[in-house]
Subunit: 590 residues, 2 copies
């Protein structure tokens, strides 16, 4: 098993130099939040992540949760770790102060969440889901529900879940069939939900299920779905968990990865109906879920970075230990000195840095959005499917490279490389598959506004190209040429889409994946180019980063440009072949 | 679990139309071998594969082999299946007649091997290794060893293994340290070997281990390795398995996939030395191993096709059953009609057809090589690292697409999609990692002859471009334009390599992977373009394929050109950035 070293310096660099954390906090009227606080917070979180959560990662993989008589027992050691997480206040980081939160910016919460998921993705899913529930309640819950549930969800005393999927309603939520029957002020919820992450466990004194269900008179389709709170334990008059509600875990899924995270089949209402409380208005559940989903999608994208970072660290460590081949003097060569191994490590490192830049930029845009900044809102809406879709796809490649660096040992489970690879495979699936993200990006985020948000992004990238090409540093000039070429290729593809896709739904769907990946590599390359510009500028100044670190930032950006930016052109070329032969073969001939 | 449908028509099309099986057999003086025979053989093999081996695939995954007191017990049911495989003569297909083989061409054996590995890759590894042992004995064994071992290896009564790897000697065979002490006419072998596929089992009455070891006076490095036969049971005077040799299985690896295939730590000589017999001359073991490895590498490349075909079939089946979304009339839509799902299926299908075209073309070149054709020898040497490297890398993508088509269900082990994905992950590792293949292609196969073999390939592709662009079919003209562009991009990168890599070992290694992948997509696209030309020609003739099948062949080629050929340009662009920043970051900053 590999150790985990929280990448504190890299995180600090992105927050300080790319995100501009201090000025962000000023603009948000957060007087006490600054880089000094960031460094303390991230370092402390890093300790819990590295010392407590990371060692439990393989334990969870090998000893997943079990279910008996409707109740789930999580991996031994997880409850104690969760207790430490709660007692140290980590759950409260970004919650609103009136409900016990620390009201720190979302971007700092995101930086910290990266560490949890790197250390132990299966464990990290539990707080991830709670954060989603908090979001939904803040945005749409009544004052009463907020008062009843938010303080304990924000403290971490209780955890939250999202209950959307049913056997016949996966990506297609219009097919949701769970029922909600009015019963006085409350509702009787019944139905089965599948793929419910951390649907049950013993780590918290209550579990707050958010459940999509239909009222008796609800319209068909997505316009007839309402959102309910269904607590595992009903609250007594003191607001404490009392009687067990009519909800239980029927079974656990046997999964490829994230064994530490129980994936439950949940049954509501086996004994007459689980008591539920309506959130917001009837039949608006889908739009409320989207509030949660946007946050959850960014969180899952972040997991793509987290697991890739962990995989990179493991490959880096192994490549320095493993000796293969000899120098002319007979001394053995560590494989990190083999060019193809070094290429793989650089591909992992540069991919991770692009993902971190994107994840934290998008997270900061959410902070600005909450503060009323319309431009940031537009930008983050464009970013969200890229964060979720592109980052989780790239995570497949990077976790696979870790196995490849290990050679035969990578295929042996005890090494631990395979776990990261298996765990990562869920990421392009849950919270909306890559296909769903790709449709969101090309449809709602590109065609819907006739490319306006995209045009602004292109303008911003063009500005960076100009800064690069007018730089006096040769490496940056070269980067400018490469970024410019990719921008042009991407723009050609985007224009093709804007011209042809509005009249052709099939074409839109057929090119949507390539469009998503193209935009991911373009944005990743652009953000790293900004990172290189900053590093170049800092090299002339007195600072704590040091020459070697800053030069490495420039080299990482250049490596990304050499090895990933050509994929922009590749996806652009494919997009411009349009629908092509996608549907020209009859099903019988497939 | 999915059913397996042997792709008989596709196999027949490639053998008949691309390989030209009948004229190949004529040129090999094989009077009785023709397409008629092929169809019978492949159909019969398909029955065993689909009816007997395929249902055991998930059984092997869930109930892998076990080891007790040095002996391995394979998955229940495998022994009976192996018995059927042997009794029906499948092991004898390509063996020489003097030792009981049927002397059928290697290309037919390859077509049949595709089926075994699709049905059950873990099982198929056992005959795969035996075939390697047969190859080595035929090429380098004494008449005595041949007489003693070949008939039973060819009949399948006994199985074979390859014992190369040691804990400190993986890709670097120079580090092999197993010892061989002369003892009269024989040798006492001692040492530990790891990652020994099917190193022990109860399916056959003997196991013939081929073992790399060092003689006492051997030079250091690869020039001091000799190859030995070490039978599990020593042969008695009647040539029958007698006393147990001093060899045992110490333990089994706990692997990510291919659980049905026991991966053994083998110990030789715990009790004074295992009796071994020298193959060929002392200290030539490495070059003998290469005889086996070239065959084994093509076989592993073939496994990449096999598992991708199985994954494709599963995705195709599921996508027709799974309903998500509704038509305006309320009827449900099977996801095969979703454009992004259709794109994934077409990507799988076109990738598989390119791989099959390459695998069988390379296999036919081996037949021609054995018949003394120097041009085919040159070509197949160029092809081998592409077959092994590119096909196994592409298999990662295609088995992953199968999971993606399944959505959440793909992550659930019971679905079976995850098994193919896990099983496939070994393919770019064993029999020489992708990095090793990439070095072989760029070094021994490209720089060593100063690009001569490559130039011939480019000339051949150019001829196909001319046929395409001069076609009266618009689709083929378009294909010609695309193939020409890719050829030019690849040639630019190859010329860059030929100019710069001879003087720069680091650059050679750093661009080797991109070169391998570039060549794979180029050759795949070229072979499918030939397939399209043949299909176009056949459409004007009277034949049994039918219009829909032939049109699909053209569409598949065009889809490959739209979706995979742009990767040629992408890899070319990366190659031409050279060593770039691969080594410019110090290890401390990684």
């Amino acid at each position: 098993m590999s150790t985990y070293n929280p990448p504190l310096k890299d995180t600090g660099f992105v927050l300080d130099q790319l995100v501009g954390f201090d000025s962000l906090c000023e603009s948000l009227d957060l007087q006490e939040a600054n880089m000094e606080l960031v460094n303390v917070v991230v370092e402390e979180a890093g300790k819990l992540a590295a010392d407590v959560l990371a060692p439990l990662n393989s334990v969870g993989d090998q000893n997943g949760a079990t279910v008996s008589e409707g109740a789930v027992t999580e991996t031994a050691g997880f409850a104690d770790a969760y207790q430490q997480y709660v007692e140290n206040g980590w759950a409260t980081l970004t919650g609103p102060e009136e409900f016990g939160g620390q009201a720190l910016p979302n971007v700092l919460g995101t930086a910290v969440n990266e560490l949890w998921h790197s250390a132990n993705m299966g464990f990290g899913l539990c707080p991830l889901l709670s954060q989603g529930a908090v979001e939904a309640l803040i945005a749409h819950g009544s004052d009463e529900l907020k008062t009843q549930y938010l303080p304990q969800l924000i403290s971490g005393e209780w955890t939250g879940t999202m209950n959307l999927t049913e056997p016949n309603a996966g990506s297609d939520l219009a097919a949701v069939s769970a029922k909600a029957m009015p019963d006085g002020d409350t509702y009787k919820i019944s139905g089965q939900k599948i793929f419910i992450t951390w649907g049950d466990h013993q780590m918290a004194s209550n579990i707050v299920h958010l459940v999509l269900a239909r009222l008796p008179d609800a319209p068909a389709g997505v316009k007839g779905i309402s959102l309910f709170i269904v607590p595992k334990y009903l609250l007594d008059e003191q607001g404490q968990p009392g009687a067990l509600n009519d909800v239980s875990c029927v079974s656990l899924e046997h999964k490829l990865g994230i064994h530490g995270s129980p994936t439950c089949v949940m049954s509501f209402g086996d004994n007459g109906g689980a008591t539920g409380y309506l959130i917001g208005e009837p039949n608006k559940g889908l739009s409320y879920m989207f509030t949660m989903m946007n946050h959850a999608r960014q969180s899952v994208g972040l997991q793509g970075l987290s697991i890739s970072e962990r995989a990179y660290q493991q490959a880096l460590e192994y490549s320095q230990e493993r000796l293969q081949g000899s120098n002319p003097d007979g001394s053995k060569i560590a494989i990190i000195n083999h060019p193809d191994v070094r290429r793989m490590l650089m591909a992992m490192k540069s991919g991770n840095e692009a993902m971190r830049a994107l994840a934290l930029s998008a997270a900061a845009d959410i902070d600005r959005t909450h503060h009323g900044d319309a431009e940031s809102k537009t930008r983050v809406e464009l970013y969200t499917p890229i964060v979720k879709g592109w980052m989780t796809e790239l995570a497949q490649e990077i976790t696979s490279l870790n196995i490849q660096v290990h050679g035969g040992m990578g295929f042996i489970e005890e090494t631990g490389a395979a776990q990261h690879y298996r765990d990562a495979r869920i990421l392009p699936i849950y919270e909306g598959t890559t296909g769903i993200q790709a449709l969101d990006l090309i449809g709602r985020k590109t065609l819907f506004d006739k490319g306006a948000a995209l045009a602004q992004l292109q303008t911003d990238i063009r500005s960076t190209v100009e800064l690069l090409t007018s730089s006096s540093t040769a490496e940056l000039q070269e980067l400018g040429v490469q970024l410019n070429q990719s921008l042009n290729a991407a723009t050609a593809a985007s224009n093709y889409i804007l011209e042809n896709a509005p009249s052709d739904k099939q074409l839109m769907g057929a090119v949507s994946f390539d469009n998503l990946m193209m935009m991911g590599y373009l944005v990743g390359g652009w953000l790293l180019a900004q990172s290189a510009l900053k590093a170049d500028q800092l090299k002339a100044e007195d600072n704590a980063y040091g020459e070697a670190f800053l030069s490495a930032k420039i080299a990482t950006s250049a490596f990304f440009a050499d090895h990933y930016l050509p994929r922009v052109d590749q996806h652009s070329a494919t997009i411009r072949t349009g629908l092509g032969k996608t549907f020209s073969i009859d099903i019988e001939q497939l």
